[in-house]
Every structure is written in structure tokens, then in C-alpha cells.
């Protein structure tokens, strides 16, 4: 269900646009601290939306954490992504309660409306559709989460309506 986190083809041009100086303060803060790999990667992802190769290179160079260790961590946890994502990440909850209340329908409708499969990003880099395990709002099942906002008690049509509203706002 997870996002295809291993990027097949990368354009070097895209990577060179990345402003690595954003990492400076985070690197300084975690220097010499133990157990800093996950917070570092989380901070990096907060800046770039995903983890570009050059970030691993910089962190290895500055802090001496091996790339293999970082890559191991980044591919283990579902939070980390190795490829760019859309501006809005749509998380469709597939927890037990949502499954029982037909979350599959939401995924199908959204997938059709956005013309992407689960884990993919729309061509205009506006939306990424992602299935997640449980958002913990079970009493409102089925739910989706866009950004930090949760929408509950949906059906397929209602979910598509939310997406259309965001599209409208973006056009303005």
C-alpha cells in the first residue's frame, strides 16, 4: 500500500536545485548527539518533502553517518520517501474500522478522479494518493487526511468533492 519510495530515474538537474543550506542548523544541533538519525531525516523531509540523494551525501560528509545506515532507516519507516511528492498528500485510512466501513470505495473513487494509482503522484505534482494503516479517528470511519486535516464519515463521492474543492482553491 505504501508509496513507491525507491525512485527509478532521477534527474540530476532536479537534485541540484535543492538548497542544502536549510540543513545547517539541524546539523549543528544534532552534532555529537546519539540516536540522531531519525530526527535528522525527519527534519530534512520537512524541508524538501522527500529525501533527495544529496541530503544523504551531505549528512554523511558532515556527521559521518554512513549512507547505508541512513538508507536502511529511510526504507524501513513508512514516513520517509525517496521521491518527490505532490503538494497535497491524501492519506486514505485503511484501518480496521475504516475497512469495515468501506474505505476501499474511497481509494477507488479518488484513484479514478485523480487518475493515479495508490502511492502515485499526479502529473501536476498537486496530489499524492496514499493508503495508510490507521489515523486513529475510527469513530468517524471511513476517513481521509489531507495535510493535518481529517475528513470523516465519507463515501466515494464526498471524498472526490473535497479534492475538487482543493483544486478550485489552487486555481484561484
Amino acid at each position: 500500500m505504501r508509496i513507491n519510495r525507491i525512485l527509478q530515474e532521477k534527474t540530476r538537474a532536479e537534485q541540484s536545485e535543492i538548497d542544502l543550506s536549510l540543513l545547517d542548523s539541524v546539523i549543528e544541533k544534532s552534532r555529537g548527539k546519539k540516536g540522531n538519525v531519525i530526527p535528522l531525516l525527519q527534519a530534512a523531509q520537512a524541508f524538501y518533502g522527500y529525501l533527495p540523494d544529496v541530503v544523504f551525501e551531505r549528512l554523511e560528509h558532515e556527521l559521518g553517518i554512513s549512507k547505508s545506515q541512513m538508507y536502511g532507516v529511510a526504507t524501513f519507516y513508512s514516513q520517509f520517501r525517496l521521491s518527490p511528492v505532490g503538494k497535497h498528500i491524501i492519506k486514505v485510512c485503511h484501518g480496521t474500522a475504516c475497512h469495515v466501513q468501506n474505505a476501499t470505495e474511497l481509494s477507488e473513487y479518488l484513484s479514478e478522479a485523480l487518475n493515479v494509482n495508490d502511492g502515485e503522484t499526479t502529473e501536476d505534482r498537486m496530489f499524492t494518493l496514499e493508503s495508510v494503516a490507521c489515523l486513529g479517528c475510527c469513530s468517524l470511519a471511513p476517513v481521509i487526511m489531507i495535510g493535518d486535516e481529517v475528513f470523516g464519515k465519507l463515501d466515494g463521492n464526498a471524498a472526490v468533492k473535497i479534492i475538487n474543492e482543493i483544486k478550485l482553491k489552487e486555481k484561484q
Binding site: 500500500m1 505504501r2 546519539k34 540516536g35 540522531n36 538519525v37 531519525i38 530526527p39 531525516l41 525527519q42 545506515q69 536502511g72 532507516v73 524501513f76 519507516y77 513508512s78 514516513q79 520517509f80 485503511h94 484501518g95 480496521t96 474500522a97 475504516c98 475497512h99 469495515v100 466501513q101 470505495e105 495508510v132 494503516a133 490507521c134 489515523l135 486513529g136 479517528c137 475510527c138 469513530s139 468517524l140 470511519a141 476517513v143 493535518d148 486535516e149 481529517v150 475528513f151 470523516g152 464519515k153 466515494g156
Partner: protein
């Protein structure tokens, strides 16, 4: 006369249901009309099926309003606040009159949730008013020794609320026994069970109670570092925890010589998880804090001896910690009054699924499944039949309706093949297919298996393949036996709880719903009409209006018919995708 209070429930679910809008509306009205009342925020009240909730407390007592939107908020202000006339129709709980919702509250005993939905979680003063930090102060002022604290927790009968059910007092004793200059107390807030939100509600609703529990635990075992490992999917919980930690520092409940106890130093910080179910297992959790892949390690040595950074460590769940201050303050006897002989106290459950009153409930252990579902939960949605309840998430199992008189405590639940788990309780009705349910959980555990143990990594995958085959009509004789065999091998050959319990959903559904498996395998039928490849779609001539929607939506052009004429499905072309069924507005597509 005290001023009227208006309190809005702003937990994650409340906000999702629109509580922020209601709060803003109330706030704007208060401002515009210059009204004299106190507007407050609180967290999850537990009555999720009536969100958003607004409570009005005036001289006549408390009135809890349910399903409030902006329009209704205006009415409440006008009628209740200005005209002093409560709107009975919207009230879901009141001391003045019955509302028909009493069953939901009457069976509950709130200990862990004592402040949830009552206090403003971002204000330490609210917590202090409700005997907050009183347990810690009691320890300091009465000079309660570390050994005595452990003894009280032991006597209370409190068992690990995260799922394992290990006696908390005993666990503390183990960690106490290993002296060290550095010791860790860790709060496991990596609530990963799909279908469970107890910990989230607690952290959002009463973060100080969890902190106080941790501080008392740190005192008892001699820890000087505290870490709350919280999943990143709970941004509101993390925010409120950080606020609470800051406030506790300011008041001297954290830091050096806490509460004036000489030499008792404790610091607590929040560590964000990165999304891995297996990190709910304590050794994997510690590996994750150390910055590694969250893989469990072999025990012994147990965490009490060599845990985080190889130092003695103690991990407890959020709810366990939330109980501690109450137990210390009121005494072990008061707590063990509730519950059964071997399972003391109360337990919080997240009641969800096809139930009328879904929400967060706290009940004394020893209550029966039927009491929770029919009395408290108000029965099954849309008058359907109760089929089974899933306890314990992906590590648990499905308990069938005919075992509804089973009492809920650690040992009785285990005897059904399920486990108590962290408290997820997902109710299923006759439209839920049990094979599909087993597949759903296996799909989850197969993805979340960390990959360390071969049987868990590959075994779950093979089981998932068999289950997928069965639900797609490709089941073979012998599949059930193969599933059972693989299950036992995975249980016997896995290092941690994830693998040891992953087959439970399959084993319990085979045990109680074998006939459903057989119907799928032999007759190629899904009795619950859930598994699409096993269904036949036909159009009911009486209901079809000839609107042509289904024909337009059908991806294989299997549906034909003229406008305003009854349509037909060509079964040879039909790929059973179900689009026609979900698009038809007249319920004219029937499934057999």
C-alpha cells in the same frame, strides 16, 4: 454565582467533525454580543458518535449538546445562554432530565479518562484543580518510599494496558532491581493497531496525567531520563505533550529535585516515531529511539537489565501511566475494587465498527462483551445482526456473537483465542466477511513484519497469498489445513509479539467461522456478499429505471439497454468490479 461555562470538545475526531468551526462561531458570537460566559476548549469526551460536542455548565448543572454545527451553536447561545432555556432536543447528557443516552455513561467508570473531555488539556491549572500532581506531592510530603510506590502498584492489580497484560508493579520491581547511573522510563505511545485510538485521546485530553504517571514511575524505578515515543501521525498529541512538558518544568514537576524530593532528577522529552507498527514492541521501540531500523532483539537480557543504550529501562503504555496517579492518590484498594481477581481496575476501549454508539469508553474489567455492545454501544447499526467482535487488532482475534457472554479480562479473552490487546474493539455485522477480515489483518502484518524472522517475514506472505486466493474463488481443498499449519509455525518461530500473534485473526476465524471458509473454497460463494469475484451481479427489472448510468460507467461495456428501459448485464463480459452496484441510485443491482 459562578459564571456559565461553554466547553467545546476539540480532540482530533471532534475537529474532523467540525468542532473548530463551532468553537470559532461561539467565540465570534461571544465577542459580537458581548456575552458573559467562559468559553473553553477540552478534548475527546468519548461520545464520538455525537461529535461535535458542546457542554454548557450553568447554575442548573451540566448540559452536554451533541451533533452541534454552526447553526445549532447560534441557537444554543440564543436559547440557553441568553434566554436560560436549555434546548432539550439537542442535549445528549444532563443531570436534569433523561436523554435516552444514559446507558452509554452509566456502565462506565472513568479512571484513566477521568479528565478527558473535562479539563482544558493545554492548561496545567485545570489539571491541578482536578487533583493533578497530587499523587506526586503526596509521595513528596508523606515521604512514600520507592519500594512502597511499587508495592501500591502491585497491590492495585494494574496490568500493562498496551496489550501484553504484564503486571506493572512487577515490571517496575525488575527495573528497580538493576542499579545504574542512567536509567530510562519510556512511554510507549506508538499506537499502531488499526482500529484503536485510546492513547491518542488520552494524550490529547490529559497529557499531564501521563507525565505524572511517568514521573512517579521514574521515582519508583530510579530513572533519570524519560522518553515518550509517540507516532508522528498524532500531531495534536505531540503538540499538547510538548506544552505539558514545558508547563511541568515551570512548576518544578520536572527537572532537578522534583517536588522537593532530594536527588530526584527527571527530564522527559517526546520522540516522534516514523511509522512502523513493529515499534510498538518494546525492544524494537528502543532500537528506533537509538536511530536504527526498528527491529526487535533477543531477550534475555530484558530491558529492565539492558534496554535503551544498554541501560536498565522500563517501557509502559500511555494508559498504564495515566492510571498511576489515580492509584497512588486513592490507594491500591480503591482501584482493585473494580475488575476481576486477576485483572484489576478498568480498561479503555475504542468501540468502533458497525455499532450505534461508537466512541471511547472506560469500563471495569469483568464486564461482558454483550453488555458493552448492546447496553453501552446501543446495538448494531441499521438493526442488523451482531456477528462478531474483533479484539486486540492484528494480534487479536474475532470473537463470535454466541460467545457474547464472555467476560472481558486478560485471561477470559485469551481463552477465546483473541487477546485483550490495547483496547480496539471493532464490531462486525452480518455483512462482514470473516475471510476478508482475516485477509485484511494478514495484509497488515505481512507489510509490517520487520523481516528479521524468516517465518514471520515469509510465512505471513504465504498465508496472505492463500487467503487472497480463497477470496478470489481460487481456493483449494487443504487450504484451511495449510493455513493452520503455517500459523503454528509462525507462532513458534518468531522472536517478538508481532509474529507470535500475527496468525491469531486467521486462527480465530477458522475456529469460529470455518463454514464461511468452506463456502468460499467449495461453493465459491461469499455468504456475506463481500468478496466481489465470488458474486454475480444482476439487474432487478422492477427497480431499474433505465437511467443508463451503469451502462456508461461499466468499464467493459457489459451492460446494455435503451434509455428508460430495463438494462441487462452480460455475464461473460462482466469483470465483477462492482462499479454498477456502487453507482446505481435505485438499488437495482442485486448481488447473489
Amino acid at each position: 454565582m459562578s459564571r456559565t461555562q461553554v466547553i467545546v470538545g476539540l480532540g482530533s475526531c471532534g475537529i474532523a467533525a467540525g468542532a473548530s468551526k463551532v468553537y470559532n462561531k461561539l467565540s465570534a458570537l461571544k465577542e459580537a454580543e458581548n456575552l458573559d460566559f467562559i468559553l473553553k476548549k477540552t478534548s475527546c469526551v468519548g461520545m464520538c458518535y455525537k461529535e461535535p460536542l458542546v457542554e454548557v455548565i450553568d447554575e442548573n448543572g451540566s448540559f452536554l449538546y451533541g451533533e452541534i454545527n454552526e447553526d445549532k451553536a447560534v441557537e444554543i447561545i440564543q436559547e440557553h445562554i441568553i434566554n436560560q432555556n436549555p434546548i432539550k432536543d439537542y442535549v445528549v447528557k444532563s443531570e436534569m432530565f433523561g436523554t435516552g443516552e444514559e446507558d452509554f455513561f452509566d456502565s462506565q467508570v472513568k479512571i484513566a479518562l477521568r479528565n478527558c473531555g473535562v479539563i482544558e488539556p493545554e492548561d496545567i491549572n485545570d489539571y491541578l484543580q482536578k487533583d493533578g500532581y497530587a499523587a506526586l506531592k503526596k509521595i513528596a510530603s508523606e515521604g512514600v518510599s520507592r519500594e512502597q510506590v511499587i508495592q501500591i502498584v502491585k497491590d492495585s492489580g494494574l496490568r500493562g494496558r498496551g496489550g501484553g497484560g504484564f503486571p506493572t508493579g512487577m515490571k517496575w520491581k525488575f527495573a528497580y532491581n538493576y542499579p545504574s547511573d542512567e536509567k530510562y522510563i519510556i512511554c510507549n505511545a506508538d499506537e499502531g493497531d488499526p482500529g484503536a485510538f485510546m492513547d491518542r485521546s488520552l494524550l490529547e485530553g490529559d497529557p499531564h496525567a501521563v507525565l505524572e504517571g511517568m514521573i512517579i514511575g521514574a521515582y519508583a524505578i530510579g530513572a533519570n531520563h524519560g522518553i515518550i515515543y509517540c507516532r508522528a501521525e498524532y500531531p495534536l498529541a505531540i503538540k499538547r505533550l510538548n506544552i505539558a512538558i514545558k508547563q511541568a518544568h515551570e512548576r518544578g514537576f520536572l527537572g532537578k529535585d522534583v517536588c522537593g524530593i532530594n536527588g530526584f532528577d527527571i527530564d522527559i522529552y517526546v520522540k516522534e516515531g516514523a511509522g512502523a507498527f513493529v515499534c510498538g514492541e518494546e525492544t524494537a521501540l528502543m532500537a528506533s529511539i537509538e536511530g536504527h531500523r526498528g527491529m526487535p532483539r533477543k531477550r534475555p537480557p530484558f530491558p529492565a537489565e539492558a534496554g535503551l543504550w544498554r541501560k536498565p529501562s522500563n517501557v509502559n503504555n500511555v494508559e498504564t501511566f495515566a492510571n498511576i496517579p489515580w492509584i497512588i492518590f486513592h490507594g491500591a484498594e480503591e482501584y482493585s475494587k473494580y475488575g476481576t481477581k486477576n485483572s484489576g481496575g478498568t480498561k479503555v476501549f475504542a468501540l468502533t465498527g458497525k455499532i450505534n454508539r461508537g466512541g471511547l469508553v472506560e469500563v471495569p474489567l469483568g464486564i461482558t462483551i454483550n453488555e458493552i455492545i448492546f447496553k453501552l454501544g446501543g446495538g448494531i447499526q441499521k438493526g442488523k445482526k451482531f456477528k462478531a467482535v474483533q479484539l486486540g487488532g492484528p494480534s487479536g482475534g474475532c470473537v463470535p456473537a454466541y460467545l457474547g457472554d464472555t467476560i472481558i479480562d486478560y485471561d477470559s479473552v485469551r481463552s477465546t483465542g483473541a487477546i485483550m490487546g490495547s483496547g480496539g474493539m471493532v464490531v462486525m455485522d452480518e455483512t462482514t466477511c470473516m475471510v476478508d477480515m482475516a485477509k485484511f489483518f494478514l495484509d497488515f502484518t505481512a507489510k509490517e513484519s520487520c523481516g528479521k524472522c524468516t517465518f514471520c517475514r515469509i510465512g505471513t506472505k504465504r498465508m496472505l497469498e492463500i487467503l487472497t486466493r480463497i477470496t478470489e474463488g481460487e481456493g483449494k481443498e487443504g487450504d484451511i489445513e495449510k493455513l493452520e499449519e503455517l500459523s503454528h509455525q509462525i507462532i513458534d518461530n518468531s522472536l517478538c509479539g508481532l509474529g507470535q500473534t500475527a496468525p491469531n485473526p486467521v486462527l480465530t476465524t477458522i475456529r469460529y467461522f470455518r463454514d464461511e471458509y468452506e463456502a468460499h473454497i467449495r461453493d465459491k460463494k461469499c455468504p456475506a456478499k463481500k468478496c466481489r469475484p465470488l458474486l454475480t451481479y444482476t439487474i432487478d427489472a422492477e427497480k431499474c429505471t433505465g437511467c443508463t448510468v451503469c451502462a456508461k460507467k461499466c468499464p467493459t461495456e457489459a451492460i446494455t439497454g435503451e434509455r428508460k428501459m430495463v438494462h441487462l448485464i452480460n455475464q461473460d463480459k462482466c469483470i465483477k468490479c462492482g462499479v454498477c452496484f456502487s453507482k446505481c441510485k435505485f438499488e437495482a443491482i442485486s448481488l447473489t
